[in-house]
Each structure stands twice: as C-alpha cells, then as structure tokens.
Amino acid sequence: MTALRALTLSEGRLYLRDSGTVFFALVFPTLLLVLMGLVLPGMDEPLTDAPGYEGLRPIDLYVPVVLALAICTTSLTTFPAVFGGYREKGVLRRLATTPLPASRLLVAQVSVNVLALLVAVVAALVAMAAVLGLTAPQQPGLVVLAFALGITHMTALGCVLAALVPTAASGNGLGMLLYFPLLFLAGVWTPGPTMPDTLATVGSYLPLGAAAQAMSEGWFGDGVPVTQLLVMVGWTLVLGPVAARVFRWR
C-alpha cells in the first residue's frame, strides 16, 4: 500500500474516532438548515417584498450559505488544530525523520476533511429536500464549480494555518478567529437581499464570501459571477504553495 493511501486511511480512522469532531462537521449543517427552517418564524414563507426573489423563501436563500458554512467548518475548525496538536506532541518531528514529505501529510488530511464535507453537504441537502422542500438550482453546473473552488481555496487557507500553528489550542483559536468574520461576510446572518451592498462587495473578494455569492448566483440567478470565481482561483493559487513552503515540522 502506498504511503499516501496508508496515511489517508490512518487519518480517516483517527478522524472517526474523535466523535465530537464527527458530529459537528457532519451533522451541524443539516441541523442548522432544518431547525432554522422549522423554528424561525417566516423562514418558510415565500418572500413578498424582494424583487427578483419571488416565490423563494428565506430558507431557500440560506441553502448556498449553509454550504459555505460547511466548507468553512471543515477547513478552519478542526483541520488546523489537528496539525497544531501533532506539532506540539512531536508527531510531526518524528515524521520528519521518515521519507514522508510534508505535502503527503497535508493531502491525506485534506482528503479526509473533504470527504467529510461532501457527506455533510449531501446529508444537509437530502434533509432539506425531505423536510422543507429543496428548490433546484438554476445553474447546477455553476453551483458545482463554485462549490469545488470554495473547497480548494478554503482548504488552502486551512493549510496555511495547519502549516504554522504550534499547538492545538492556537490552531483552534486562530481557526475560530477567522471562522466567524468569514461566516459573517458570507452572509450567514444576512443572506441574500438583506446584506448591505458594501459588505457584499468586500465579501466578494474574500475567502468564503466569494464562494457563497458565486453559489447563490448559480442557484437563483442567471449570470456568471466571474469576479468571485477568479477570486477563489487566486486565493487557491497563492495560499496553497505558501502552505507547502512554510510548513514547519516542529
């Protein structure tokens, strides 16, 4: 078995053995969407005063935002902290003496996290469809593209943190420090038409904000969000190599 496959399976097993992480990452998006739709008043009622969004309910507008949230959760909450923990305990220092390159380690962890993300997203969409009804996206291909780029650039950001954080606690802290502002700019608290224009402009250039906007456009609009797509490609191309270069084994 190749080193990469062995390492991915090993990290996968370790991921599943940490039940807290598993719950949060896999179940949270589903819970968020379904509970919000059922519990918050007005979420399930079609919008009446938003031009261009007729027939849609607020909870529909939330679907791409929750997808963005899922991406953000898997790339920033546990991923850097795992590396911080490994670094702090000397796990990485021991691995540094073996033939395994840093990149393989990052790829193995990323693979496990992306798989978890896909499971979380599918679960959320299925639950949504079953409980509240799911509006089909206008441009499914664009949504998939935006989602994929969302994964790549947010993962690259997570990798930069993972490459540097000295302890699990700092990995957690730094991840959380980025998590909430990015969620805010992605519109978790101000989805769709409720987001002020300035905020939306800023968000379109930042990680996650670009993903959320691109996916929303793909879901409900008929334009192509070129800026947001290019922004995500840019972040990926910059942050990815930086992570591999600055990776610290101790």
């Binding site: 062995a6 090993s10 370790l14 000397g90 033939p99």
Partner: protein
C-alpha cells in the same frame, strides 16, 4: 547486510579502525540565540559499530545528533552522512536512516499495530512490523491505542518505528529510559541483534551500564565539546587508571599526612576525599589543610597494582585503613572525572 556500501575516504594511519566511515561530523557548532548548544564537536561513525554519545543533560548530545540526521542545520561545521550532506540531501537519506527521538509522541488514538503498518508504508522494503513488534515484546499491545500504552511500551514502539524501514544507520536517543531492568536487558539483546544484522547504530545515552554493555566506542560530550573519545576501556584508563580504592580512617588525620604516607607509592595516580567534611574546590593557590574525618571517604586511584602497596604504606604510617572497597574504575567514575574535571581545578596531587 546493508545494500550498497558507500565510498569512504581510505583509512589513514591515524584511524583507530580501518572500517568504512558511515558519518563524519567536523567542528560542529550550533547556537540558539545566545545559547551555545554545541560549541565544537567532531566525531566519526564507523560502519557496523555501536557508537555511544554520552554526556550530562544539556551537553549538546541531542543537538549534535539532530544535526547529524538533518533535523537541524548547523551554524558552522560540516556533516557527512553516508557520503551525503543531510541538510541538502535529506530526501535521499531518510529512507536509509532510522531515528528514535526522545519526547516524540504519536496521535493518542492511533493503535500500535496501525502505527507500525503506517510507518512501514513509507519505505520500499520494510521489515515485518509484526515480527519486529514481537521481538520488542509488543505482540500483545498491537491493538492498544497510543495513549493506553505504558511508558515502556511507548519506548519500545518508538524503537520499532525507527527500525521498521531497515535502515543502514539507526540513531537511538534515550533507548531504555523508563524501562524496567528486564526490559532494558531485552532491549540491549535486541540492539546487539540489530548490529549483528549489519546496522550501524548511534546511541545517545546517559546510562553508564548501557554504554559499557553496548558501545564499541564512546564520545563524551560536555558543555558543547568533546571531552573524551575512545572505547569504554580507553576512557576509564584515560580518566582514572584502573583501580579505585575507597577507605576510611578511624581517627581524624590531615590530608597532608595521608599524602606524605603515599608519597613513595608510585602506583597511585589520584587522591581525593569525599564526605561531609569535603571542602569546595580550590580557587587556586595553596591547598587548604583538609582533615580527613572518620566519616569521610578517602578515594585512592591508581594502576592495577595499587591496592597492596597503598594499603601497606598507610598501615606503615599508623593510618589504619578500614571499610576498604577495591574495584575497577568504571565508566561512571570516568564520566564524573572527565566532566567535572573542567568545572573545578582538580586538586593537584603530589604523590
């Protein structure tokens, strides 16, 4: 036997051994900010030997060995490992060098057997992890997660992971720390077996019995420099001579009197006093007039033939030696002498 021998410089007449050089460290220097961890260390590693790196804590042993394996870059000096520079050719060297590091854990929920399989996958031709585990007494612990292993089991797993890649050179740091006496002996047997398979071993240790049992040659590092190098016997002879006599005198006697009594005994090489009345080392200048009390221990060091003449000379001077213990100088004595001899000026003994 290891696969391809590397080319090595031809042995010069000054070489203690005509064996091939696996590694050479020359004038290594490494500082961390204002702390000098390694001041000037040079050593050679010959193929097939077990080289011991000894020294007190903080002497620079671990830093030296980390520079040897490429984990750290030296500030000055050169390191050649298997003919390559570990700082630049790390990727080519890592499959051939196995390291067991101190203070290095594994993920808490990773099982021992899983760790062995994982590390084996990093190498092209790994050893049988299960067999290695059995040799190290870990066969029953393979399904135990790392956080559930005892200290000794973690140590042995660490050794197994260093050896699973069938390295040409194994660097072991703190081999038997935390192991019970039986486990230590079993581990020593294992290491001798590994050496018999042709693996060269660099062993960092502060256990004298381990150094004496396992090491073909030793390098003693103290405060960043090499204090002594050679076989265990060489080191003992160099530091101390071969016999150490410990005795007490029933009545208080000035040390000067004892010295005078032993003046004609040419076999004596050193005379010291240990005990509650022992003064601190002299700052230089005339020796203080020390009195050897009944609870102080007189330590007479000398060649193998020192025992009878020394005791007879003391008796002849009406200094009746009691509680006499005579034994061979051990590596531990040499260690203390060699590392403390630069801390205080040794009392110059005129005998």
């Amino acid at each position: 036997m290891p696969a391809k021998p590397t080319t090595a410089p031809p042995p010069t007449p000054a070489d203690a051994s005509s064996l091939e050089l696996v590694a050479r460290v020359s004038h290594l220097r490494k500082t961390y900010g204002s702390t000098v961890a390694v001041d000037d260390v040079s050593l050679d590693v010959h193929r097939g030997e077990i080289l011991g790196v000894l020294g007190p804590n903080g002497a620079g042993k671990t830093t030296t060995v980390e520079c040897l394996t490429g984990l750290r870059q030296p500030d000055q000096g050169t390191v050649r490992l298997l003919g390559l520079d570990p700082a630049r050719d790390g990727r080519r060297l890592r499959p051939r060098v196995g390291c067991q590091l101190q203070e290095s854990e594994l993920p808490a929920k990773l099982r021992a057997g899983e760790a062995l399989d994982l590390y084996a996958s990093f190498y092209d031709d790994p050893a049988d992890g299960r067999a290695l585990a059995a040799d190290l007494g870990l066969a029953t612990a393979l399904d135990t997660p790392y956080h559930g292993l005892s200290g000794g089991q973690k140590q042995r797993l660490s050794i197994a992971l260093a050896l699973v890649g069938r390295p040409e050179l194994a660097v072991l740091d703190e081999l038997t720390t935390g192991l019970d006496p039986q486990a230590r002996r079993d581990t020593w047997d294992l290491i001798e077996g590994v050496r018999a398979d042709g693996v060269t071993i660099v062993l960092v240790t502060h256990f004298m019995d381990e150094a004496e049992r396992l090491c073909d040659r030793l390098v003693l590092i103290d405060r960043g420099r090499v204090a002594a190098a050679g076989t265990p016997t060489d080191l003992v002879a160099q530091a101390l001579g071969e016999q150490v006599l410990r005795l007490r005198l029933p009545d208080p006697v000035p040390l000067a009197t004892v010295r005078a009594a032993l003046r004609d005994v040419t076999e004596v090489t050193d005379l010291a006093v240990e005990g509650p009345g022992t003064p601190a080392g002299p700052a230089g200048g005339p020796l203080p007039d020390v009195v050897v009390g009944p609870s102080d221990e007189l330590v007479v060091t000398g060649s193998r033939a020192v025992t009878a003449p020394a005791l007879l000379a003391l008796a002849a001077a009406d200094l009746e030696p009691v509680d006499v213990v005579a034994r061979r100088g051990t590596l531990e004595d040499a260690f203390v002498a060699l590392t403390s001899s630069r801390e205080t000026e040794p009392t110059p003994v005129e005998v």
